[in-house]
Protein backbone atom coordinates (compact mmCIF):
# COMPACT_ATOMS: atom_id res chain seq x y z
CA UNK A 1 0.00 0.00 0.00
CA UNK A 2 1.38 3.40 -0.87
CA UNK A 3 2.24 5.71 2.01
CA UNK A 4 1.17 9.34 2.14
CA UNK A 5 4.06 10.60 0.01
CA UNK A 6 3.49 7.77 -2.44
CA UNK A 7 -0.16 8.74 -2.84
CA UNK A 8 0.76 12.37 -3.46
CA UNK A 9 3.45 11.37 -5.94
CA UNK A 10 1.07 9.16 -7.86
CA UNK A 11 -1.66 11.80 -7.81
CA UNK A 12 0.75 14.46 -9.10
CA UNK A 13 1.84 12.09 -11.83
CA UNK A 14 -1.72 11.43 -13.01
CA UNK A 15 -2.62 15.10 -12.71
CA UNK A 16 0.30 16.15 -14.90
CA UNK A 17 -0.41 13.53 -17.56
CA UNK A 18 -3.91 14.97 -17.87
CA UNK A 19 -2.55 18.54 -17.94
CA UNK A 20 -0.16 17.65 -20.73
CA UNK A 21 -2.85 16.27 -23.00
CA UNK A 22 -5.34 19.05 -22.25
CA UNK A 23 -2.70 21.64 -23.08
CA UNK A 24 -2.19 19.91 -26.42
CA UNK A 25 -5.89 20.11 -27.21
CA UNK A 26 -6.76 16.47 -26.51
CA UNK A 27 -10.23 15.55 -25.27
CA UNK A 28 -10.39 13.22 -22.29
CA UNK A 29 -12.90 10.39 -22.83
CA UNK A 30 -14.13 7.40 -20.87
CA UNK A 31 -15.44 4.13 -22.26
CA UNK A 32 -16.96 0.99 -20.65
CA UNK A 33 -14.55 -1.31 -18.84
CA UNK A 34 -16.89 -4.22 -19.40
CA UNK A 35 -17.98 -5.04 -22.91
CA UNK A 36 -19.52 -7.92 -24.89
CA UNK A 37 -16.46 -8.01 -27.18
CA UNK A 38 -12.72 -7.81 -26.76
CA UNK A 39 -9.74 -7.37 -29.06
CA UNK A 40 -8.94 -10.82 -30.44
CA UNK A 41 -5.18 -11.10 -29.90
CA UNK A 42 -3.96 -14.62 -29.33
CA UNK A 43 -1.40 -13.70 -26.67
CA UNK A 44 -3.69 -11.50 -24.55
CA UNK A 45 -6.35 -13.23 -22.48
CA UNK A 46 -9.31 -11.26 -21.08
CA UNK A 47 -10.90 -11.72 -17.69
CA UNK A 48 -14.60 -12.41 -17.93
CA UNK A 49 -17.39 -10.76 -16.01
CA UNK A 50 -20.70 -12.63 -16.18
CA UNK A 51 -20.97 -13.24 -19.92
CA UNK A 52 -18.94 -10.18 -20.88
CA UNK A 53 -15.27 -9.22 -20.84
CA UNK A 54 -13.18 -6.75 -18.88
CA UNK A 55 -11.26 -4.71 -21.41
CA UNK A 56 -7.68 -5.67 -22.19
CA UNK A 57 -7.29 -2.14 -23.62
CA UNK A 58 -9.78 0.63 -24.52
CA UNK A 59 -8.60 0.46 -28.12
CA UNK A 60 -11.81 -0.66 -29.83
CA UNK A 61 -13.98 2.05 -28.27
CA UNK A 62 -11.31 4.73 -28.63
CA UNK A 63 -11.01 4.03 -32.34
CA UNK A 64 -14.79 4.11 -32.78
CA UNK A 65 -14.75 7.58 -31.19
CA UNK A 66 -11.90 8.55 -33.49
CA UNK A 67 -13.83 7.29 -36.52
CA UNK A 68 -16.78 9.45 -35.40
CA UNK A 69 -14.63 12.52 -35.97
CA UNK A 70 -13.03 13.14 -32.58
CA UNK A 71 -9.57 13.87 -33.79
CA UNK A 72 -7.45 13.97 -30.61
CA UNK A 73 -8.58 11.89 -27.63
CA UNK A 74 -6.98 10.37 -24.55
CA UNK A 75 -8.03 8.19 -21.66
CA UNK A 76 -6.59 6.84 -18.41
CA UNK A 77 -8.34 3.65 -17.35
CA UNK A 78 -7.86 0.25 -15.75
CA UNK A 79 -7.17 -2.69 -18.08
CA UNK A 80 -7.24 -6.37 -17.22
CA UNK A 81 -5.17 -9.22 -18.62
CA UNK A 82 -5.65 -12.68 -17.27
CA UNK A 83 -2.71 -14.49 -15.68
CA UNK A 84 -0.21 -11.70 -16.25
CA UNK A 85 1.43 -11.61 -12.85
CA UNK A 86 5.08 -10.88 -12.20
CA UNK A 87 7.68 -8.25 -11.40
CA UNK A 88 6.41 -6.08 -14.26
CA UNK A 89 2.86 -7.41 -14.56
CA UNK A 90 -0.38 -7.03 -12.67
CA UNK A 91 -3.67 -8.53 -13.85
CA UNK A 92 -5.22 -5.09 -13.32
CA UNK A 93 -3.20 -2.04 -14.30
CA UNK A 94 -3.68 1.57 -15.41
CA UNK A 95 -3.34 2.32 -19.08
CA UNK A 96 -2.96 5.67 -20.78
CA UNK A 97 -4.05 5.66 -24.41
CA UNK A 98 -4.05 8.52 -26.86
CA UNK A 99 -5.02 8.78 -30.50
CA UNK A 100 -4.35 11.33 -33.23
CA UNK A 101 -6.16 11.64 -36.55
CA UNK A 102 -4.02 12.49 -39.56
CA UNK A 103 -0.83 11.33 -37.88
CA UNK A 104 1.48 8.33 -38.05
CA UNK A 105 3.63 6.53 -35.52
CA UNK A 106 6.53 8.98 -35.84
CA UNK A 107 4.32 11.69 -34.34
CA UNK A 108 3.54 9.46 -31.34
CA UNK A 109 7.24 9.02 -30.64
CA UNK A 110 7.54 12.80 -30.41
CA UNK A 111 4.53 12.83 -28.06
CA UNK A 112 6.33 10.35 -25.81
CA UNK A 113 9.46 12.52 -25.71
CA UNK A 114 7.43 15.61 -24.89
CA UNK A 115 5.22 13.90 -22.31
CA UNK A 116 8.10 12.49 -20.29
CA UNK A 117 10.02 15.76 -20.40
CA UNK A 118 6.87 17.58 -19.27
CA UNK A 119 6.53 15.22 -16.30
CA UNK A 120 10.20 15.58 -15.44
CA UNK A 121 10.02 19.38 -15.57
CA UNK A 122 6.80 19.77 -13.58
CA UNK A 123 6.71 17.01 -10.98
CA UNK A 124 8.84 18.81 -8.42
CA UNK A 125 6.83 22.00 -8.60
CA UNK A 126 3.53 20.11 -8.47
CA UNK A 127 4.64 18.19 -5.37
CA UNK A 128 6.02 21.25 -3.61
CA UNK A 129 2.41 22.53 -3.48
CA UNK A 130 1.78 19.71 -1.00
CA UNK A 131 5.09 20.26 0.73
CA UNK A 132 6.61 17.08 -0.67
CA UNK A 133 10.23 17.59 -1.64
CA UNK A 134 13.48 15.74 -2.12
CA UNK A 135 12.42 13.13 -4.67
CA UNK A 136 14.33 12.45 -7.88
CA UNK A 137 12.53 11.33 -11.01
CA UNK A 138 13.83 9.20 -13.89
CA UNK A 139 17.22 9.21 -12.17
CA UNK A 140 20.09 8.11 -14.37
CA UNK A 141 18.08 8.51 -17.58
CA UNK A 142 18.67 11.35 -20.00
CA UNK A 143 15.35 12.48 -21.44
CA UNK A 144 16.77 15.37 -23.48
CA UNK A 145 17.00 15.54 -27.25
CA UNK A 146 15.75 13.02 -29.77
CA UNK A 147 15.71 9.50 -28.34
CA UNK A 148 17.21 6.59 -30.22
CA UNK A 149 15.07 4.90 -32.85
CA UNK A 150 16.18 1.30 -33.36
CA UNK A 151 14.51 -1.03 -35.85
CA UNK A 152 13.66 -4.56 -34.75
CA UNK A 153 15.84 -6.02 -37.48
CA UNK A 154 18.83 -3.92 -36.35
CA UNK A 155 18.21 -4.80 -32.70
CA UNK A 156 18.42 -8.49 -33.60
CA UNK A 157 21.62 -8.08 -35.55
CA UNK A 158 23.12 -5.97 -32.77
CA UNK A 159 22.18 -8.06 -29.71
CA UNK A 160 20.77 -11.47 -30.68
CA UNK A 161 22.72 -14.67 -31.37
CA UNK A 162 20.46 -15.36 -34.37
CA UNK A 163 18.96 -12.92 -36.86
CA UNK A 164 15.34 -11.82 -36.98
CA UNK A 165 14.36 -14.07 -39.86
CA UNK A 166 15.74 -17.13 -38.13
CA UNK A 167 14.17 -16.17 -34.79
CA UNK A 168 10.74 -15.89 -36.41
CA UNK A 169 11.16 -19.18 -38.25
CA UNK A 170 12.10 -21.00 -35.04
CA UNK A 171 9.34 -19.35 -33.01
CA UNK A 172 11.92 -17.70 -30.74
CA UNK A 173 11.13 -14.02 -31.30
CA UNK A 174 9.72 -13.36 -27.82
CA UNK A 175 12.35 -15.37 -26.00
CA UNK A 176 15.23 -13.58 -27.69
CA UNK A 177 13.58 -10.22 -27.26
CA UNK A 178 13.24 -10.81 -23.51
CA UNK A 179 16.61 -12.50 -22.90
CA UNK A 180 19.00 -10.79 -25.30
CA UNK A 181 17.55 -7.48 -26.44
CA UNK A 182 15.33 -5.83 -23.81
CA UNK A 183 18.05 -5.72 -21.10
CA UNK A 184 20.10 -3.38 -23.33
CA UNK A 185 17.32 -0.97 -24.21
CA UNK A 186 16.99 2.41 -22.55
CA UNK A 187 19.69 2.32 -19.90
CA UNK A 188 21.09 5.76 -20.71
CA UNK A 189 18.27 7.37 -22.64
CA UNK A 190 14.87 5.96 -23.72
CA UNK A 191 14.79 3.87 -26.89
CA UNK A 192 12.06 3.33 -29.47
CA UNK A 193 12.18 -0.18 -30.88
CA UNK A 194 10.22 0.03 -34.14
CA UNK A 195 9.12 -1.62 -37.37
CA UNK A 196 7.91 -4.98 -36.08
CA UNK A 197 7.20 -7.99 -38.28
CA UNK A 198 3.65 -7.47 -39.55
CA UNK A 199 2.31 -10.66 -37.91
CA UNK A 200 3.17 -9.14 -34.49
CA UNK A 201 0.99 -6.07 -34.89
CA UNK A 202 -2.55 -7.22 -35.43
CA UNK A 203 -4.06 -3.72 -35.56
CA UNK A 204 -1.09 -1.88 -37.05
CA UNK A 205 -0.69 -0.56 -40.57
CA UNK A 206 1.80 -2.13 -42.97
CA UNK A 207 4.70 0.01 -44.09
CA UNK A 208 4.11 1.07 -47.69
CA UNK A 209 7.75 0.54 -48.60
CA UNK A 210 7.96 -2.88 -46.93
CA UNK A 211 4.71 -4.79 -46.36
CA UNK A 212 6.48 -7.42 -44.20
CA UNK A 213 6.82 -4.74 -41.53
CA UNK A 214 4.19 -2.92 -39.47
CA UNK A 215 4.49 0.73 -38.45
CA UNK A 216 4.61 -0.20 -34.81
CA UNK A 217 6.97 0.74 -31.98
CA UNK A 218 7.60 0.08 -28.33
CA UNK A 219 9.13 2.54 -25.90
CA UNK A 220 11.79 1.16 -23.54
CA UNK A 221 13.42 2.64 -20.47
CA UNK A 222 15.80 0.58 -18.32
CA UNK A 223 14.86 -2.55 -20.24
CA UNK A 224 11.18 -2.12 -19.40
CA UNK A 225 8.57 -1.95 -22.15
CA UNK A 226 6.44 1.09 -21.41
CA UNK A 227 4.31 1.81 -24.46
CA UNK A 228 3.14 0.27 -27.68
CA UNK A 229 2.16 2.62 -30.50
CA UNK A 230 1.37 2.28 -34.16
CA UNK A 231 -0.06 3.80 -37.28
CA UNK A 232 -3.58 2.44 -37.30
CA UNK A 233 -4.67 -0.15 -39.79
CA UNK A 234 -7.79 1.48 -41.27
CA UNK A 235 -8.56 -1.05 -43.98
CA UNK A 236 -11.60 -2.79 -42.46
CA UNK A 237 -11.36 -5.80 -44.78
CA UNK A 238 -7.75 -6.47 -43.93
CA UNK A 239 -8.52 -5.94 -40.24
CA UNK A 240 -11.31 -8.53 -40.46
CA UNK A 241 -8.92 -11.03 -42.08
CA UNK A 242 -6.36 -10.51 -39.32
CA UNK A 243 -9.06 -10.95 -36.64
CA UNK A 244 -10.30 -14.15 -38.33
CA UNK A 245 -6.75 -15.46 -38.10
CA UNK A 246 -6.37 -14.43 -34.44
CA UNK A 247 -9.76 -15.89 -33.49
CA UNK A 248 -8.78 -19.20 -35.11
CA UNK A 249 -5.47 -19.21 -33.21
CA UNK A 250 -7.26 -18.49 -29.93
CA UNK A 251 -9.67 -21.35 -30.62
CA UNK A 252 -6.94 -23.85 -31.48
CA UNK A 253 -4.64 -22.85 -28.59
CA UNK A 254 -7.17 -22.59 -25.82
CA UNK A 255 -10.51 -23.79 -27.18
CA UNK A 256 -12.03 -20.40 -26.34
CA UNK A 257 -14.48 -18.65 -28.63
CA UNK A 258 -13.73 -15.01 -29.35
CA UNK A 259 -16.50 -12.89 -30.82
CA UNK A 260 -15.81 -10.83 -33.95
CA UNK A 261 -15.93 -7.10 -33.03
CA UNK A 262 -18.49 -6.31 -35.73
CA UNK A 263 -19.45 -2.78 -34.64
CA UNK A 264 -15.79 -1.83 -34.47
CA UNK A 265 -15.17 -3.13 -38.00
CA UNK A 266 -18.24 -1.26 -39.28
CA UNK A 267 -16.98 2.01 -37.75
CA UNK A 268 -13.43 1.42 -38.94
CA UNK A 269 -14.60 2.10 -42.51
CA UNK A 270 -14.96 5.76 -41.52
CA UNK A 271 -11.52 6.05 -40.01
CA UNK A 272 -8.93 7.84 -42.10
CA UNK A 273 -5.22 8.07 -41.33
CA UNK A 274 -4.61 7.87 -37.59
CA UNK A 275 -2.16 6.70 -34.97
CA UNK A 276 -2.64 5.53 -31.41
CA UNK A 277 -0.62 4.39 -28.43
CA UNK A 278 -1.07 2.57 -25.14
CA UNK A 279 1.27 3.35 -22.26
CA UNK A 280 1.35 1.38 -19.01
CA UNK A 281 1.46 4.17 -16.50
CA UNK A 282 1.97 2.04 -13.41
CA UNK A 283 5.19 0.95 -15.07
CA UNK A 284 6.04 4.49 -16.08
CA UNK A 285 5.52 5.62 -12.48
CA UNK A 286 7.64 2.67 -11.30
CA UNK A 287 10.49 3.73 -13.60
CA UNK A 288 10.12 7.41 -12.72
CA UNK A 289 10.41 6.54 -9.02
CA UNK A 290 13.25 4.06 -9.60
CA UNK A 291 11.25 1.17 -8.10
CA UNK A 292 12.21 -2.38 -8.98
CA UNK A 293 8.77 -3.85 -9.31
CA UNK A 294 5.34 -2.68 -10.39
CA UNK A 295 3.79 -3.72 -7.07
CA UNK A 296 5.70 -0.86 -5.40
CA UNK A 297 4.14 1.68 -7.75
CA UNK A 298 0.43 0.98 -7.27
CA UNK A 299 -1.83 2.08 -4.42
CA UNK A 300 -2.73 -1.49 -3.51
CA UNK A 301 -0.85 -4.49 -4.84
CA UNK A 302 -2.16 -8.08 -4.68
CA UNK A 303 0.14 -8.62 -1.68
CA UNK A 304 -1.85 -6.05 0.28
CA UNK A 305 -4.74 -8.52 0.31
CA UNK A 306 -2.80 -11.51 1.65
Amino acid sequence: MLDKDGLHLRAAFFHLIRSFFRQQGFLEVDTPLRQPVYIPESNIVPLTSEKEYLQTSPELCMKRLLAAGNSQIFQICPCFRKEEKGRLHLEEFQMLEWYRSGADYHRLMIDCEELLRFLMENLKEQLAKNDINGYQFFSGINLEGEWERLTVVDAFSRYSPINLEQALKEGKFDEILVDYIEPYLGNVYPVFLHDYPVQLGSLAKKKAANPAVAERFELYIKGVELANGFSELTDADEQRMRFVHEIATIKSNTNRDAPMPERFLADLKYLDTAAGIAMGIDRLFMIAMNHRQIAEAVTFSPEDFL
Binding site: N43, D174, L177, E218
Partner: protein, 187 residues
Amino acid sequence: MLTASDLRKGLKVQIDGNPYIVTDFEFSKPGKGQALYRTKMRNMISGNQLVKTYRSNDKFEKAELDEKKMQFLYSQGEEFHFMDTENYEQLSLTREQLGENTNYLIDNMEVELMFYDNQPIDVTLPIFVNLEVIKADPWAKGDTSGNDTKPVTVQTGYELQVPPFVEEGDKIQIDTRTGQYVTRVKE
Protein backbone atom coordinates in the same frame (compact mmCIF):
# COMPACT_ATOMS: atom_id res chain seq x y z
CA MET B 1 -2.32 -31.47 -13.92
CA LEU B 2 -0.62 -28.13 -13.40
CA THR B 3 0.05 -25.57 -16.10
CA ALA B 4 2.82 -23.01 -16.44
CA SER B 5 0.61 -20.37 -14.84
CA ASP B 6 0.66 -22.36 -11.58
CA LEU B 7 4.46 -22.04 -11.37
CA ARG B 8 5.73 -20.19 -8.32
CA LYS B 9 8.65 -20.37 -5.95
CA GLY B 10 8.41 -23.47 -3.79
CA LEU B 11 6.14 -25.46 -6.12
CA LYS B 12 7.09 -29.12 -6.43
CA VAL B 13 6.69 -30.76 -9.81
CA GLN B 14 7.60 -34.06 -11.40
CA ILE B 15 9.81 -33.99 -14.51
CA ASP B 16 11.05 -37.15 -16.21
CA GLY B 17 10.24 -39.14 -13.11
CA ASN B 18 12.12 -36.84 -10.73
CA PRO B 19 10.76 -34.43 -8.13
CA TYR B 20 11.85 -30.82 -8.61
CA ILE B 21 11.27 -27.76 -6.48
CA VAL B 22 11.01 -24.34 -8.09
CA THR B 23 13.74 -22.17 -6.55
CA ASP B 24 13.41 -19.10 -8.73
CA PHE B 25 10.70 -17.94 -11.02
CA GLU B 26 10.05 -14.95 -13.21
CA PHE B 27 7.07 -14.20 -15.41
CA SER B 28 7.86 -12.15 -18.48
CA LYS B 29 5.83 -11.22 -21.50
CA PRO B 30 6.36 -8.73 -24.28
CA GLY B 31 3.04 -6.82 -24.47
CA LYS B 32 1.86 -8.42 -27.68
CA GLY B 33 3.99 -11.54 -27.35
CA GLN B 34 3.80 -14.87 -25.62
CA ALA B 35 3.93 -15.35 -21.87
CA LEU B 36 7.28 -16.81 -20.82
CA TYR B 37 7.73 -18.52 -17.47
CA ARG B 38 11.47 -18.50 -16.75
CA THR B 39 12.10 -21.07 -14.09
CA LYS B 40 14.98 -22.38 -12.04
CA MET B 41 14.41 -25.72 -10.36
CA ARG B 42 16.37 -28.03 -8.12
CA ASN B 43 16.20 -31.79 -8.44
CA MET B 44 15.13 -32.75 -4.93
CA ILE B 45 17.13 -35.96 -4.99
CA SER B 46 20.36 -35.15 -6.82
CA GLY B 47 20.38 -31.41 -6.04
CA ASN B 48 21.10 -30.64 -9.71
CA GLN B 49 19.79 -27.36 -11.04
CA LEU B 50 17.53 -27.10 -14.06
CA VAL B 51 16.94 -23.78 -15.84
CA LYS B 52 14.06 -23.75 -18.25
CA THR B 53 11.61 -21.41 -19.91
CA TYR B 54 8.01 -22.59 -20.16
CA ARG B 55 5.02 -21.26 -22.10
CA SER B 56 1.36 -20.98 -21.13
CA ASN B 57 0.29 -24.30 -22.58
CA ASP B 58 3.03 -26.41 -20.97
CA LYS B 59 1.72 -28.88 -18.41
CA PHE B 60 3.24 -30.50 -15.34
CA GLU B 61 2.54 -33.33 -12.95
CA LYS B 62 2.63 -32.49 -9.29
CA ALA B 63 5.51 -34.24 -7.56
CA GLU B 64 4.21 -37.23 -5.63
CA LEU B 65 5.57 -36.60 -2.18
CA ASP B 66 4.48 -37.91 1.17
CA GLU B 67 4.63 -35.57 4.12
CA LYS B 68 4.98 -36.38 7.78
CA LYS B 69 5.06 -34.09 10.79
CA MET B 70 8.38 -34.36 12.60
CA GLN B 71 10.48 -32.50 15.12
CA PHE B 72 13.90 -31.06 14.41
CA LEU B 73 16.27 -32.27 17.13
CA TYR B 74 19.74 -30.93 16.45
CA SER B 75 22.41 -30.52 13.81
CA GLN B 76 25.85 -32.06 13.88
CA GLY B 77 28.23 -30.93 11.18
CA GLU B 78 26.46 -31.41 7.87
CA GLU B 79 23.73 -33.64 9.31
CA PHE B 80 20.36 -32.44 10.54
CA HIS B 81 18.45 -34.86 12.74
CA PHE B 82 14.68 -35.16 12.98
CA MET B 83 12.35 -37.30 15.09
CA ASP B 84 8.91 -38.71 14.47
CA THR B 85 7.04 -37.64 17.61
CA GLU B 86 4.68 -40.63 17.42
CA ASN B 87 7.11 -43.54 17.27
CA TYR B 88 10.36 -41.71 18.20
CA GLU B 89 12.07 -42.93 15.05
CA GLN B 90 14.94 -40.69 13.97
CA LEU B 91 16.36 -39.82 10.60
CA SER B 92 18.63 -37.19 9.12
CA LEU B 93 19.03 -34.91 6.13
CA THR B 94 22.16 -33.20 4.86
CA ARG B 95 22.75 -29.47 4.73
CA GLU B 96 22.83 -29.74 0.95
CA GLN B 97 19.40 -31.37 0.85
CA LEU B 98 17.95 -28.71 3.10
CA GLY B 99 19.40 -25.71 1.22
CA GLU B 100 18.19 -22.37 2.55
CA ASN B 101 15.87 -24.12 5.01
CA THR B 102 18.81 -24.40 7.41
CA ASN B 103 18.48 -20.64 7.94
CA TYR B 104 15.31 -21.20 9.93
CA LEU B 105 15.71 -24.55 11.72
CA ILE B 106 15.94 -24.32 15.50
CA ASP B 107 15.89 -27.16 18.02
CA ASN B 108 12.46 -28.65 18.72
CA MET B 109 10.82 -26.91 15.76
CA GLU B 110 7.95 -28.84 14.19
CA VAL B 111 8.29 -29.27 10.43
CA GLU B 112 6.83 -31.40 7.66
CA LEU B 113 9.34 -33.87 6.30
CA MET B 114 8.91 -34.78 2.67
CA PHE B 115 9.44 -38.28 1.40
CA TYR B 116 9.88 -39.46 -2.15
CA ASP B 117 9.85 -43.23 -2.61
CA ASN B 118 10.06 -43.49 1.18
CA GLN B 119 13.33 -41.52 1.22
CA PRO B 120 13.39 -38.24 3.17
CA ILE B 121 14.38 -35.44 0.78
CA ASP B 122 13.43 -32.06 2.23
CA VAL B 123 11.34 -30.23 4.80
CA THR B 124 8.45 -27.82 4.55
CA LEU B 125 8.80 -25.08 7.11
CA PRO B 126 6.08 -23.06 8.76
CA ILE B 127 5.56 -19.82 6.77
CA PHE B 128 6.57 -17.72 9.78
CA VAL B 129 9.27 -18.55 12.28
CA ASN B 130 10.41 -16.61 15.34
CA LEU B 131 14.18 -16.40 15.79
CA GLU B 132 16.38 -14.65 18.31
CA VAL B 133 18.76 -11.90 17.25
CA ILE B 134 22.24 -12.76 18.48
CA LYS B 135 24.17 -9.95 16.82
CA ALA B 136 23.05 -6.43 16.03
CA ASP B 137 24.78 -3.11 15.88
CA PRO B 138 23.26 -0.58 18.27
CA TRP B 139 21.01 1.98 16.70
CA ALA B 140 22.72 5.35 16.70
CA LYS B 141 19.90 7.67 17.74
CA GLY B 142 19.82 10.78 15.66
CA ASP B 143 21.21 8.89 12.70
CA THR B 144 19.82 10.90 9.82
CA SER B 145 21.67 9.07 7.07
CA GLY B 146 18.31 7.86 5.83
CA ASN B 147 19.23 4.19 6.14
CA ASP B 148 16.02 2.56 7.27
CA THR B 149 17.43 -0.93 7.77
CA LYS B 150 20.48 -2.56 9.33
CA PRO B 151 21.91 -6.09 9.20
CA VAL B 152 21.50 -8.51 12.11
CA THR B 153 22.39 -12.15 12.68
CA VAL B 154 19.88 -14.59 14.17
CA GLN B 155 20.54 -17.70 16.21
CA THR B 156 20.85 -19.97 13.15
CA GLY B 157 23.64 -17.77 11.75
CA TYR B 158 21.35 -16.31 9.11
CA GLU B 159 21.88 -12.62 8.33
CA LEU B 160 19.09 -10.31 7.24
CA GLN B 161 18.06 -6.65 7.08
CA VAL B 162 15.75 -5.34 9.79
CA PRO B 163 14.47 -1.94 10.99
CA PRO B 164 17.01 -0.06 13.13
CA PHE B 165 15.05 -0.44 16.41
CA VAL B 166 15.68 -4.22 16.54
CA GLU B 167 18.26 -5.07 19.23
CA GLU B 168 20.35 -7.99 20.33
CA GLY B 169 18.20 -10.47 22.29
CA ASP B 170 14.97 -9.49 20.49
CA LYS B 171 12.88 -12.15 18.84
CA ILE B 172 11.85 -11.40 15.30
CA GLN B 173 9.42 -13.05 12.94
CA ILE B 174 10.77 -14.04 9.51
CA ASP B 175 8.84 -15.11 6.42
CA THR B 176 10.51 -18.36 5.36
CA ARG B 177 9.26 -18.00 1.79
CA THR B 178 11.16 -14.77 1.22
CA GLY B 179 13.68 -14.80 4.06
CA GLN B 180 12.55 -11.32 5.03
CA TYR B 181 11.83 -9.65 8.35
CA VAL B 182 8.15 -9.39 9.24
CA THR B 183 7.89 -7.97 12.75
CA ARG B 184 9.43 -7.92 16.22
CA VAL B 185 7.68 -10.36 18.57
CA LYS B 186 7.17 -10.13 22.32
CA GLU B 187 7.25 -13.42 24.16
